[in-house]
Assembly symmetry: C2
Homo-oligomer: 365 residues x 2
DNA sequence: TGTTGTTCTGTGTGCGTACACACAAAAATA
DNA sequence: TATTTTTGTGTGTACGCACACAGAACAACA
């Protein structure tokens, strides 16, 4: 039951550890027969490399650049960062180091400006939230030219380069379907349902439109109610939002459900509470504090959690798998769409802080 | 930015690595002044032990005994085992080994029979699903006498010994509240709601009663509908279940919601489909295959996921933290109560298989 | 037969830590 | 003072692996 070491394989195959090492790492310079013998011994003894020893022996530290929007205060990106930090803590003893590089995603061209820094900073890989599609595409093209692996998180620009290590994020279309289901169950009878994009710009092919499509498709199969789509561009003034809502309620007296495709549903909850219209069912996104507060006073509210923390975590872990375990994953990983309501929100908040695995906070003792 | 090693501390403190080691591990035999200097250097240089090197150098492997019910075929316990295996894979290179020991939880006294094997098998810790409360309590008392740390998963018998490393599992009461909320939203008008315990025995203080209490308490605050509690003892014969349901529907024509406190809600879904009564909303537990199938044909069905896989995972990780990182957690950890419906079930199935962290499946190459 | 080149293989060292051991210095005893 | 005991400190080795380097074996040439 003792673990088999390289030494054991060498013994079994009648060669030295050096030869075994060459076979394991495909370094060449091994006679065919020797290689065969070693491979057979590896198979037979079920050899699995000791990760602790490997990362200790390997001197090369893989340096990864993590590119994120510079919205320091935004809770969604804070959660992303949190997950990233967690993963880095867990892997720092195993040959992974990282730097977070931010850019202003409200201005054009800022992402591209990072180019020089990224490709001349000696980085071995890129972890990027490519929410500026055009610019990000240029960067990823560059990655492929320079043979630098990259993982996308949060936004996916469907970039199928040879160096792509896939995408970790949410399935927006499916989250729209889920919102449809929740509203369907909550409403009972067919009525009017509103979709609200609360965002300054809804660009072609964006998440928001995928969510819209998901909800619409759900209702094509189930009941086919009237669906009204509205965009609220100016989200900084509550009065503007309020008048849009009042107008909607006036135009569609049977409006009984609202789906907000961004994280700003708390505004709607507050306004509807004010208007004493809390019989309207709401579905929105993200566990930001104001939304969590809204759960407390608005019964018919569901939040869909996109798990930003795990996006960061798994994103980094993909690079870890790639470099340290020679295990390369290129597929898309969709994180679970958590349905959050007042009765289960506490556990979700908990896990975001506690997931630390293989992390040592202890200084001594 | 280079990582500080023990050597660096020794240099900074003007002592040898041996002295630093003694300070770090509280081995004594260090002069007060030397100790002070070392501690200061550790603080100053922000020393964090290298986990890879530590587990490589430390030869002692901590052996843990994992005690589970012997229901090999049960999907819930399979998931538990899966999570346990995942955690063991992730930690096997770091000085943790484990053996799963099963007992027949359908017979009395079987758990206690393990006693000798557990306490004379040279185990360093215990991970137990103490679903036979009385017998488990005796075992845990024994643990405290022998100074053997233990973690409880899935069931919690509130055992506050000095060696307890807490509990990882679900919050049954809260899951009942959550079921209440889901039914409340789904029903709209106040009607009759049924609670179904589908289990051969509902013992005092069991999870099932906690779930019942949670749902009842929820509705005391919201609408206060009529709630009917029924137990179905004989779950092996579908005809028995069916007649219970038919009787319920007859006695309570306005029954519009059913809460099944075990994983057997698929039976109910199948029967109601048969009876063409699918307007009744259902809430049940666990992602077992038959329940997942039921999601496909029964729209108004929600499953609450108790995350058995993560229970096993975090349970093992607690022991890992305790032994390898000297980081001892004694608190209760409640896992998130996932709300599952057809539209988000796929992601939940995915994550159960994919969560492998720090695991090396690669043989060579 | 000697020389050069090519292909293959074994040995040695170091990664950062844990721990055993040897030994020096100081203190307690004779 | 001599001897034992206690206390404090440094050195050396091993863990399993990666990788550099030396060198053996063999063939191909002069």
């Amino acid at each position: 039951m003792a673990k088999t070491r390289i030494k054991d394989i060498a013994l079994a195959a009648g060669v030295s550890v050096g030869t075994v090492d060459r076979v394991i790492h495909n370094r060449g310079r091994v006679a065919k027969e020797a290689e065969e013998k070693v491979k057979k011994a590896i198979e037979l003894l079920n050899y699995k490399p000791n990760l602790a020893a490997r990362s200790l022996a390997r001197q090369t530290v893989h340096k990864i650049a993590i590119v994120l929007p510079s919205q320091e205060e935004d809770e969604f990106w804070m959660a992303q960062r949190h997950g990233i930090r967690r993963a880095l803590d867990a892997t720092k003893d195993f040959g992974l180091s990282a730097e977070i590089i931010t850019f202003d995603d409200q201005k054009k061209g800022e992402l591209l400006k990072l180019s020089a820094r990224l490709f001349e900073g000696g980085y071995d890989a890129l972890l990027i939230a490519p929410n500026i599609k055009g610019e990000a595409r240029t960067l990823l093209d560059q990655c492929n030219k320079l043979n630098m692996p990259y993982v996308q998180i949060n936004s996916n620009i469907d970039h199928k380069g040879a160096n792509s290590l896939g995408f970790v994020g949410q399935d927006s279309y499916r989250s729209g379907q889920l919102a449809g289901k929740l509203l369907d169950i909550a409403l009972g009878a067919p009525v009017t349902i509103g979709i609200l994009h609360m965002e300054t710009e809804v660009e072609e092919g964006s998440h928001l439109l995928a969510k819209e499509a998901g909800l619409k498709d759900y209702f094509k199969k189930h009941g086919d109610p009237r669906i009204v789509v509205t965009q609220i561009v100016d989200i900084s003034h509550k009065s503007v939002i309020r008048s849009v809502i009042e107008e909607l309620l006036h135009d569609y007296p049977d409006l009984m459900g609202l789906f907000v495709t961004t994280s700003r549903i708390h505004h709607i909850a507050e306004i509807l509470k004010d208007l004493d219209k809390m019989e309207i069912s709401l579905v929105g996104f993200d566990l930001v504090q104001k939304n969590i507060d809204a759960l407390g006073f608005y019964k018919r509210l569901f939040l869909i959690n996109q798990n930003p923390s795990l996006q960061g975590y798994y994103g980094v872990m993909r690079l870890f798998d790639h470099f340290l375990k020679h295990k390369t994953i290129r597929s898309t990983k969709y994180l679970p769409l958590g349905i959050i309501t007042l009765e289960n929100v506490s556990n979700y908040l908990h896990i975001q802080d506690r997931d630390n695995i293989l992390q040592d906070n202890r200084t001594y003792g």
